[in-house]
């Protein structure tokens, strides 16, 4: 037993407090940091987001029909294909940007740079730091999806005529899709090691894109029944089909119950898994 002799008078500490409002303010600050970094180089973001959809639209919806090659084959085909392509490319962008804006920085911040430290030590529960990553990633994805529209319109030679008559469907699916993409980004960011980052593209992004009904409606796969069923495990399919229901319903689409139900379920599962793994990476 030891006595503690006080060497000098100590004023009593002010009892610290942390209200819910304080914690919400912290979460908003965490999101605003990510957006501030994004807006420091807006041109870079614009190029990063628009190049892939613009080039796809240019080659498939502008060049191919004019050289009588493959898809479409005529001017009418170009317009038709451009309309199939727009929702698909928006869905692809929502997913791809979610991964790019959340997973890639996280992999770096967790490993050699340890930049995540300051944010992990912010006065909020650790899950709130992870969720704020999803929210900032989703906001970036929404911006990206909006940029896709003019990019595809210009690159396809102004040959698209989307149906803007279902705004609630469009907005809700862009928001939901962006959250799914960012949640998958969080999950990947906590799992993938820096040395295997290239595998992320080969094993995840390419299959998600090419087998995500981005370039064709799901119903068109009916002649390949096994593939039509296999791609149902791909969340991009539901984003593409949902956005197609909004922007190009004439091509047919999967039941919207399935679209909303599975996207919500996927988002929930990936968010919970991502948050748990995030916590495991920073707390032992």
């Amino acid at each position: 037993m030891t006595t503690i002799a006080s060497a000098r008078p100590v004023a009593p500490l002010r009892a610290p407090r942390l209200t819910t409002t304080d914690q919400v303010r912290t979460a908003v600050a965490l999101v605003s940091r990510d957006l501030a970094v994004l807006f420091m180089s807006p041109f870079q973001f614009l190029v990063r987001v628009s190049m892939q959809p613009a080039l796809f639209s240019f080659v498939f919806a502008y060049v191919f029909p004019r050289i009588g090659f493959g898809i479409g084959g005529s001017r009418g085909g170009a317009s038709s294909f451009g309309n199939v392509l727009l929702p698909g490319l928006m869905a692809n962008t929502l997913m791809f940007q979610g991964i790019q804006s959340v997973a890639l920085p996280l992999v770096q911040e967790f490993s050699f740079s340890k930049e995540i430290e300051d944010r992990v030590m912010a006065p909020v529960p650790t899950w709130a730091v992870a969720v704020s990553k999803i929210i900032s990633g989703a906001i970036q994805s929404c911006f990206a999806a909006i940029i896709v529209v003019p990019a595809v319109w210009i690159a396809s030679g102004m040959a698209i005529s989307p149906d803007w008559g279902h705004p609630a469907l469009l907005v809700s699916l862009v928001v939901l899709g962006s959250l799914v993409g960012a949640a998958l980004g969080l999950l990947m960011g906590t799992i993938v090691r820096p040395q295997s980052i290239n595998l992320l593209f080969a094993l995840l992004i390419l299959p998600l894109t090419l087998l995500g009904c981005v370039y064709y409606p799901w119903s068109a796969l009916h002649t390949l029944r096994w593939l039509q069923i296999a791609v149902l495990f791909n969340p991009v399919v539901y984003m593409s089909e949902g956005l197609r229901a909004s922007l190009a319903p004439q091509f047919g689409y999967i039941s919207l119950w399935a679209v909303y139900g599975l996207l919500l379920a996927g988002m929930a599962v990936m968010t919970v898994a991502g948050v748990c793994l995030f916590r495991r990476r920073v707390i032992s």
């Binding site: 610290p16 740079s113 340890k114």
Partner: protein, 366 residues
Amino acid sequence: MVATVERAPADAVDVADAGIVCRELTKIYHGAPPAPAWGGRTGAGGTPGGATHRGGPPAPAQARDAGDGVLAVDRLNLVVERGAFFGLLGPNGAGKSTTIGMLTTRVIPTRGQAIVAGVDVVKQPALARTQLAAVTQTNTLDRSLTVFDNLYFHGRYFGLARGESRRRAQRLIERFNLVDKARAMVDELSGGLAQRVQIARALLHDPAVLFLDEPTAGLDPQGRLALWDLLRELHAGGQTILLTTHYMEEADTLCERIAVIDHGRLLALDTPAGLKASVGAQRIVTLTLNRPDDGAVRRRIERIEGVNRVDADGAVLRVYADVEQGLVPEVVNAVAAAGAELHDLSVAEPTLEAVYLNLTGREYRE
């Protein structure tokens, strides 16, 4: 300002008034100890295998096996009074980083209690983070932001309004002589400057306790001295500081009290002067002989008046004595009388390093 830090069950302590209170604080890692995310010292890719580098959580080789896990910290009792400058010393894998990890909410204790500035870090980790700040050896500054924005956003994370965060960031930038670098990106900073910025950032939310985990590792001598001045100034202003370091001189010059831990247990706790006095000698004579001593030299030296103890390590003997006058000639004579030759001889006062090596052993640990 004298810190009062004692090894105690801490029952009698006014917890709300102390800087840090640990009661029976224990951590057992199950499986491989994880990478120290809080300390930033992982191996390539942050793999658990990297955790043994430079003071990460204890490697199984050093920490003790606790049946079904690795005992990294073993029933640590500690009280650090507010305003104290406290040092935590120990070899790699001794449990320092795990202790700091528990105190800074990054490692969940298996048992026991840790209270920082009156807040239980396990029960209220988010609230505890408002009361503490941790600076690591690794540069964890946000590379996407300027120096100023690193400070500004830190303030925002801690709930400060835009204007207030900007004002505080500006004040700290001026106080820490960073005005020229305020708009620089983090990558442009030298190691010493980056550490200054990290400390400035840590102080922005006015923490009650500042944790510094090997803050001067890797700095050049000028950078280290500049940082020492800064830390002394902070301490003089009443800042409670807990420092871990491998530099004994640093602990000696900065800390008012020092705890030496190894294998997760507290080995000693005293002022630097008190620890040095514990060697039980005013002088330490180190001899190197031409051959390992078979005991003959040692026995003769032990008979010299004023010699308290002789440690033999092969051909090297360490003589702990309370007298200085005439000691060296007598030692030289004793060596000659035992038929050995003297290759080298040095006389030193007891240092913190001697105390430390005495407590933790000389075996090299990776």
